[in-house]
């Protein structure tokens, strides 16, 4: 058993590619070894900017010899067949053996594959690994690149160390030959380092200022940055992405804290943090009150002779220049009002078929106003009530952080004005210098600029938050102006792209319509916006057609289903809650609550038993082809008769028939269990209906629960298929009425079990 060390040295590997490269190296190494019949158990991979390293422990010295038998044609087969077999098997005809197979003499080729030295296998594996290595981007270099066939690597590959135990694995790849020799830190160590084996590799490098284990460097940066922050009386703003990136840029990381001029803190803190992070890869710090401090932490790759004073000073100057730019943008942008900036949107194309961003702003402004005027978005902020156990709305809904309560709109017309005003300014920051430099700050900067020019807090807040909710954990706006604007913005996007047929396909969603749909659902949900998207589309359109509205509603419904499933709602419960017979419930708020109530009801004993009773009743009705009262009306045998219960035109007819039927005295004395079910239905059905009207789905489930004992008893004591036709008809009607009552609450036929 020996340990194997492979180091592939190169010029600086981009930090962002190192994790993928480690995985690729291990994958290809295992592929090569397993192909040769070796299963490496313990494989460790490391990376620094200048090297990829792999250590495989406990490799055998050689592979086992194996004997392989191949069955050939029977003796007496045509020569051609025999020759073909020999060629395929790679054996001489003379070496074939004959065996008896089910009474027939048959040729066999027996191949003895000798075991091979692992060192030889590795010598072949290394070039294969290098050749097949997949980098996100690779390049050619040097004199060999006069041919495009020359080796490709992420940056020039400069050396290979390959040792099995203490022996060299000799190989050569495009001019690079393996050896014992590597290099240490670019500046702290000059000259060659001779590695003895996998055992001394990491320590020899450490002695030459290279920490080869990336996780150790990450730990050093994480703890080192926290330490220099606390020594300065500050708290590090943790940033795991920066930890990993800086570990990928250094072989000997040394976190150093510097200060920038306090004056810069007058620009929005987000811009400071962003410029420090994105442009300079610096950490930032907070003071004890949680405010951004005038400090940065850079990660040097050297232990400088002066303790890093020069390094810090140089970095401070660079950051100061960057912050000067940010302050310049902040000052210049504020010289114009957002309304003036907004004029520049006429020059930006939103989509070639949907006009400029200015065109979109115009549509959104009108829609936002309309949503308020129609009462779809109401002037008072709704405190979202979490759906029991299944909520995907953040528990603590974000209150307007800007103290909107003091300036929020009180009347519909005030709110409508504010929504329109916010909409007209919401995209203006896209043409500001700051957002041009930092696109991530869209919205946020608009909010700052709005506040700076003295716009009402509710308007500034809406501009700031109108892209929200963006990701899964993102806050959902609840301030009315923001809700109107955010909803209008997303609906306009959905209507627009559906109108021109630019729909998401598979994994491609270039206009982020799925995200827009999820945002609409979450906004609607959190703010109890009670309007069908198809209805909004119809009322809103100039020609009063639904246009793409129904498609958008279906699209939302799909997303809602996915979201509910992700939130732990059973698939069949989702179906039962959205699909009421043939009618889809497009009301997000209702669907969610119905599903939540249904799922918890099904978890109770009453729920499970009622479902069993429902299934039994439905099976009997199906077997008897009994459609009850509804079945007597225009039953063509094609459509689902239950659908007619929901058809307003049919309701009068059904009601008339029902009262007609009920007017008739029962022609026989019902059995006690039958009577009990009739009585229970007479109570439960209206109770459930009242609860449904009030959207009290738990109440509706409770009303259904009262049917559980009577239906159980009915099945126990009453014979449905009585000999007397009048009894049979009445009892089947009773079951149909029971089924109909249950269906008004949810489509139990969708429930499995």
């Amino acid at each position: 058993m020996s340990d194997f060390l492979l180091e592939l040295r190169s010029e600086e590997i981009p930090a962002r590619m190192q994790a993928g490269a480690r995985a690729e190296l291990e994958k290809l190494f295992r592929r090569e070894m397993e192909g040769a019949g070796i299963s490496p158990s313990e494989v460790t991979v490391w990376s620094t900017p200048r090297r990829l390293a792999l250590i495989a422990r406990g490799l055998p010295e050689a592979t086992q010899a194996v004997s392989e038998e191949l069955k050939g044609p029977p003796v007496g087969a045509p020569d051609q067949a025999l020759e073909g077999f020999c060629r395929k098997a790679g054996v001489d005809k003379a070496d074939l053996q004959t065996r008896d197979v089910k009474g027939r003499a048959t040729y066999f080729a027996v191949k003895n594959i000798p075991g091979r030295a692992t060192r030889d296998l590795l010598a072949e594996a290394i070039p294969a690994i290098i050749r097949d290595f997949s980098w996100p981007k690779s390049m050619r270099w040097g004199a060999a690149s006069i041919s495009t066939e020359s080796l490709r690597w992420v940056r020039p590959l400069s050396g290979i160390v390959a040792l099995l135990g203490e022996e060299l694995v000799e190989c050569e790849v495009h001019g690079a030959t393996s050896g014992w020799v590597t290099l240490g830190h670019r500046f702290h160590h000059s000259g060659d380092i001779t590695i003895g084996s996998a055992a001394d590799y990491a320590e020899k490098l450490r002695a030459c200022h290279v920490i080869v284990d990336h996780e150790e460097r990450q730990d050093l940066i994480r703890s080192g940055a926290a330490k220099v922050a606390s020594e300065a009386g500050l708290k590090l703003v943790e940033d795991e992405g920066l930890v990993i990136e800086n570990a990928g840029l250094t072989e000997w990381p040394v976190p150093l804290l510097g200060r920038f001029e306090e004056d810069f803190l007058e620009v929005p803190p987000e811009t400071i943090q962003l410029t420090a992070r994105v442009n300079q890869k610096y950490f930032v710090c907070e003071d004890d009150r949680g405010n951004l401090a005038n400090a940065f932490i850079c990660t040097a790759n050297i232990e400088a002779e002066d303790g890093g004073a020069r390094v810090v000073d140089g970095n401070r100057k660079v950051l100061a220049a960057r912050l000067s730019d940010a302050r310049f943008f902040w000052d210049v942008d504020r010289k114009k009002s957002l309304a003036e900036h907004a004029k520049g949107l006429e020059r930006i194309t939103f989509h070639e078929k949907l006009g400029t961003v200015a065109d979109k702003v115009e549509r959104v402004a009108k829609l936002a106003r309309w949503l308020v005027e129609e009462g779809i978005v109401k002037p008072t902020s709704v405190r979202p009530e979490p759906v029991e156990g299944l909520s995907f709305t953040a528990e603590s809904a974000p209150e307007e952080k800007s103290g909107a309560s003091t300036s929020s709109a009180r009347t519909v017309s005030e709110l409508a004005d504010m929504a329109e005003q916010a909409a007209r300014l919401a995209k203006a920051d896209l043409v500001t210098e700051m957002v041009g430099e930092f696109p991530e700050l869209q919205g946020l900067m608009g909010g700052y600029y709005a506040r700076a020019e003295g716009l009402p807090d509710a308007v500034a807040g809406a501009i700031r938050d109108h892209y929200k909710p963006v990701g899964q954990g993102d806050d959902v706006p609840t301030a009315p102006v923001t809700v109107a604007l955010s909803l209008a913005d997303k609906l306009d996007t959905l209507f627009g792209f559906f109108e021109i047929g630019e729909l998401p396909t598979g994994s491609k969603d270039p206009f982020a319509l799925r995200r827009a749909a999820i945002a609409v659902i979450r906004l609607v949900e959190a703010n109890q916006v009670r309007a069908l998207v198809s209805e909004i589309a119809r009322s809103w359109s100039t020609d009063k057609t639904v246009g793409p509205g129904l498609q958008v509603e279906d699209f939302l419904q799909d997303r809602l289903g996915v979201m509910m499933k992700d939130a732990g709602v059973r698939y069949d419960v989702v179906q039962a809650s959205t699909d009421l017979g043939t009618r889809l419930d497009g009301d997000v708020w209702r669907v969610r609550r119905r599903a939540a109530a249904l799922q918890s009801f099904l978890g109770t004993e009453d729920g499970a038993n009622l479902l069993a009773g429902y299934k039994r009743a439905a099976n009997i009705l199906k077997k008897e082809d009994w459609h009850g009262i509804e079945g007597e009306i225009a039953h063509t045998g094609e459509e689902d008769p239950l659908s007619q219960v929901d058809d307003p035109d049919m309701k009068a007819v059904i009601d008339a028939k029902m009262s007609d039927r009920h007017a008739k005295e029962l022609s026989y004395e019902p059995e006690p269990a039958e009577k009990a079910l009739m009585d229970a239905l007479a109570k439960s059905e209206p109770a459930a209906a009242v609860a449904i009207d009030a959207e009290d789905f738990s109440g509706a489930m409770a009303a259904l629960a009262a049917l559980r004992a009577p239906i159980d008893r009915f099945f126990e004591e009453v014979t449905v298929n009585a000999d007397e036709e009048n009894k049979r008809a009445h009892r089947l009607d009773l079951l149909a009425a029971f089924r109909a009552a249950v269906h008004k609450v949810a489509d139990f036929s969708r429930i499995e079990g």
């Binding site: 390049m139 050619r140 006069i146 250094t250 140089g314 970095n315 660079v318 100061a320 000067s324």
Partner: protein, 299 residues
């Protein structure tokens, strides 16, 4: 005579000349046209094509009209200098040579944190791209380091290494000044501002406010036509000059704010067609000669 790159902008340039001259580079002079980057110099673009070895270093003045700040910003200029080194094929010790050149102008990598940070380069205008780094010195980008992979839409065979030093930035760093205009130009008290401040003021005004836009549009069209004329007459180097001219006129039009977002793409496409057309014509003209001289090479 002793160089003093730590205190003198011109000595820093001369030290770089000495260094790269000693390392086998031709020391060329700037291209006598207005251009946005040293890469536009024919010693870079056209020489990056073909199999012939090529090692050259030169200073190239760069014009970026939209970066003008009327002499009021300590870091931004509409006219500044790049130091270009092009080494073809890229030598195996190119990083070491580069780091040595930093030592020569006074940057000690044990006192200053030098880092190679991923930065790939692409010029759609030139149909060119390469992989490499921006080199950081204490967090400041001081050099762009690129291995050219394609130029004018052609694979570079062999690959050239290109080093582009930002001279003012480096000098500010080395001299320890925060304002570019405070740089000591000659080591004897003449400042960068003495030489260039008035130019920056006037040229910023001209770029942003004064330049006659109708005349610029006209110049653009004329350069485009002349490029095609040169191509038709098989003088690709002359055609390439007109592409460089058109590119700069386009930058001026941008600074004047008279090119809309929609038009912008179209203008860039026109410049690209000229530049690539010139490279293609250059390639077509030289390929037979190169193929004869370098049998292992093919176009």
């Amino acid at each position: 005579m002793d160089r003093n790159p730590q205190n003198s902008f011109q000595d820093m340039i001369l030290a770089l000349h000495d260094f790269w001259s000693a390392n086998g580079c031709l020391i060329l002079q700037p291209y006598d046209m207005r251009m946005g980057a040293g890469t536009f110099h024919t010693a870079t673009t056209l020489r990056a094509l073909g199999p012939e070895p090529w090692n050259a270093a030169f200073v190239q003045p760069c014009r970026r009209p939209t970066d003008g700040r009327y002499g009021e910003n300590p870091n931004r200029l509409q006219h500044y200098y790049q130091y270009q080194v092009i080494l073809k094929p890229s030598p195996p010790d190119i990083q070491d040579l580069y780091l040595e050149s930093l030592r020569v102008i006074g940057i000690d990598p044990l006192k200053h944190d030098i880092r190679f940070v991923e930065d790939d380069w692409e010029s759609p205008t030139l149909g060119a791209w390469g992989l490499g780094w921006e080199v950081w010195c204490d967090g400041m980008e001081v050099t762009q380091f690129t291995y050219f992979q394609q130029m004018g839409g052609f694979d570079c065979k062999p690959v050239a290494g290109e080093l582009t030093y930002g001279l003012e930035r480096l000098a500010m760093y080395i001299q320890g000044v925060d304002n570019v205009y405070d740089l000591d130009f000659n080591g004897h008290g003449v400042s960068y501002g003495d030489v260039f401040l008035e130019n920056e003021k006037q040229m910023s005004k001209w770029n942003f406010e004064v330049a006659e836009t109708d005349a610029l549009f006209d110049l653009f069209n004329k350069a485009e036509a002349e490029c095609r004329n040169a191509l038709a007459n098989e003088v690709p180097i002359a055609a390439y000059e007109q592409a460089v001219e058109a590119s700069h006129i386009f930058n001026l039009l941008q600074a004047r704010g008279v090119i809309s977002v929609q038009e912008r793409a179209s203008y860039m496409g026109r410049v690209r067609d000229l530049a690539r057309g010139s490279c293609e014509a250059h390639m077509a003209k030289e390929a037979p000669v190169w193929a004869e001289k370098y049998p292992e090479w093919s176009a």
